[in-house]
């Protein structure tokens, strides 16, 4: 018996190395496809009023509420405005991102930022997208036009360009 193990030492060592390597390589390949194929993987703060670190920046804590005074805004009948304010503290390499979206958690309905539709001209002091040149902390100001039947809680998704498919996800219940 001992002689069999001894005679086959080299193949046994090869097997002991190759079998786990094979499993590892195939497994890694499959799981990597699984994670890449997923549209996003959200990074959320631990508490609702918490902040998140992603793309070298600190995001949050988020503030969200319905806009009560809508005078002077182009707002259709049966619609309301949800405003989300997200403080961004950029690090060494300030991130860029498109305007975050608002998602109704119960239905998955998704709205994009509606500043233009409200008839409010853009203002560099109230950005809706991340400024990749800003080194000082700033706040994203995002008005969303939602129908009256939309109900919180909502998610606010921020997708920094550099961290795809990782996104920052806040929950607000205005």
């Amino acid at each position: 018996m001992t002689s069999w193990w001894r005679r086959n030492t080299v193949p046994l060592i090869a097997l002991a190395v190759l079998a786990p390597v094979t499993a590892g390589v195939i497994g890694w390949n499959e799981w990597q496809e699984y994670f890449q194929g997923r549209s996003t993987s959200p990074v959320a703060p631990e508490t609702e009023d918490g902040a998140v670190e992603l793309a070298g920046a600190t995001w949050g804590p988020i503030r969200g509420q319905y806009l009560e005074n809508v005078e002077g805004l182009t707002l259709p009948d049966g619609a309301e405005v949800v405003v989300a304010v997200i403080p961004v503290a950029p690090g060494e390499d300030p991130p860029s991102c498109p305007a975050p979206t608002l998602i109704e958690q119960s239905s998955g309905r998704e709205w994009s930022e509606g500043r233009f539709d409200l008839g409010v001209s853009s203002n560099p002091d109230e950005p809706t997208t991340c400024d990749s040149t800003a080194t000082e902390p700033y706040e994203l100001l995002l008005p969303y036009i939602v129908p009256e039947d939309a109900e919180g809680p909502f998610w606010v998704n921020i997708a920094p360009a550099a961290t795809t498919p990782k996104i920052v996800q806040f929950s607000i219940d205005p």
Binding site: P76, S107, R109, E110, P147
Partner: protein, 181 residues
Amino acid sequence: MMKKALPWVATVVLLIGAWFVQLITPSDDVAAEPFLVAASIGSEAVGREIVVTVLEVRAASTVTSSSGWSAEGTWLLVDLNAETVTADRLLQGATLTIDGLEFRASERMDSIFSTKLVPGIPRTGTIAFELPDASLTGTGILHLSLGDDTRLDSVIELTIPLDELTTSAEESVHVTEWATS
């Protein structure tokens, strides 16, 4: 005698059978055909991701738009309210089929065609079709969808009796805006 005839009879029967099977076999694209949602004027037609209410169908020999643009020709205008169900999408599929000829919506003026629709809040506007002269006869089939590619997607379908339309001298393409309910 019987033995000699049998293979011939069997062959003929099988050939005719095969011909019938071939006749009733659906074509390859049937599996990916769009889901048609019949619409009527004034009532809401709900598709998978698009919701449309056709308000009015107009015909005119000159159309104008709010920007001051105008053009003569044979025009069919469709006024509608439209929204999406779950996410922002452009209204990019609008065709009118008359007598086997398919016309795409005009992009010569600003209209609701190719504009953004949002979930739950309808926008109102007009889609314009520029048609060959004297083509407003018979039946027109209007198809509305979000994408150009309608495979396995819903398509809102409205049948328009073209002979019943009165052609006005001039009609305008409405400004695209939020619908007032």
